[in-house]
Symmetry: C2
Subunit: 174 residues, 2 copies
DNA sequence: ATCCGGAATATGAATTATCATGTTTTTGCC
DNA sequence: GGCAAAAACATGATAATTCATATTCCGGAT
């Protein structure tokens, strides 16, 4: 009531709030925080974030099909298609349709794309090392382990493949 | 589910790839996975994801100023402004300008907004409990602790406040 | 007081992402 | 073999997001 300084003075703050202890928030905030940091480096190289993700995925395994790649890169197929278009324009990747199944389109790094990918992956490793250092390698190892488990349980390949985005919108007028 | 027909036949797969062990990827994938799951419930209630985030933040502390709220909710100020517009239309929140500093706009939950927020937070708690159960409460506790540390080091309030997303990167590489 | 820089929000044009659907190819079934 | 159904991508209209900038207001220095 009488707190006329600048900061809080507001609502009925419980302990320190639900949000700050909520697992999904912590995951999002941690991800956001560290990623934003690295993304600055990515952009500094003239690469957009979604492109970096694709480069990294392809550096791991070249010639993935679009659907695969989209799942791995955590993005929707139609979006990936468009990003691939742009990357193809920039000569970072090329498309080639699969021999055995011509519905499939496989995406390959060009020489340029590959070397760019290598550089960025190297940067990423360095950046990651910095973070792991800050939180102690031991804790980082545990962290990665638990995260991997969560991803295994709730990640892209863990979902029934038909409900990867399906929900009843339940359009209520308001 | 995965290509049980065609063997990879593709690239020079190292062990299992860089990406799948990369901390930033694990964070993003874990976050994505568990969040997508819960977001289905949110949408089922006719609430959009960004709205849910704001509701949760305001439930924690009502009457936050826009900038604060944006930082906490991990979104840009201009975006938040627009979301607040929509939420105000739906009578979930109201704006009131701060007495002491009239540049500031404080956002408050309406009665409707508050009860919706409560319901959703309750859902979130239940959902979270399910996940924590899967990965054992002990590991979950460690996970949260490490995540909180990462957020403290790299999160919104940990950044120089001038480089939070503004001003062009200046094309420089160091 | 007045001026100047910076903080807090709002706004609008340009860019991106999403959703539903279309096209082509393959598979499974009869 | 022929057909229906499903898989894999592409596309285009709609909606959301970003980026730069405008507007208003505060605080300190002159």
């Amino acid at each position: 009531m009488t707190a006329h300084k600048h900061p809080p003075e507001a609502g009925q703050t419980a302990d320190q709030g639900f949000v700050r202890h909520y697992l999904l928030y912590l995951l999002a905030a941690a991800s956001e925080g560290v990623s934003t940091e690295f993304h600055a480096q990515v952009r500094a190289r003239g690469v957009r974030v979604p492109e970096w993700r694709i480069l990294a995925c392809l550096a791991d395994e070249d010639g993935q099909m679009v659907t695969q790649l989209a799942a791995l890169a955590l993005m929707e197929q139609s979006r990936l298609t468009k990003i691939i278009d742009q990357m193809a324009d920039k000569k970072l990747v090329t498309r080639r349709s699969d021999e055995r199944d011509r519905r499939r389109v496989r995406v390959f790094l060009t020489a340029t794309g590959r070397s760019l990918a290598r550089e960025l992956v190297e940067d990423a490793r360095i950046h990651e090392a910095g973070i792991i250092d800050q939180i102690s390698p031991a804790q980082a190892a545990i962290l990665k382990h638990v995260l991997a488990r969560i991803v295994a349980l709730h990640g892209p390949e863990a979902r029934p493949a038909g409900e990867r985005r399906t929900t009843r919108p339940a359009e209520e007028e308001s």
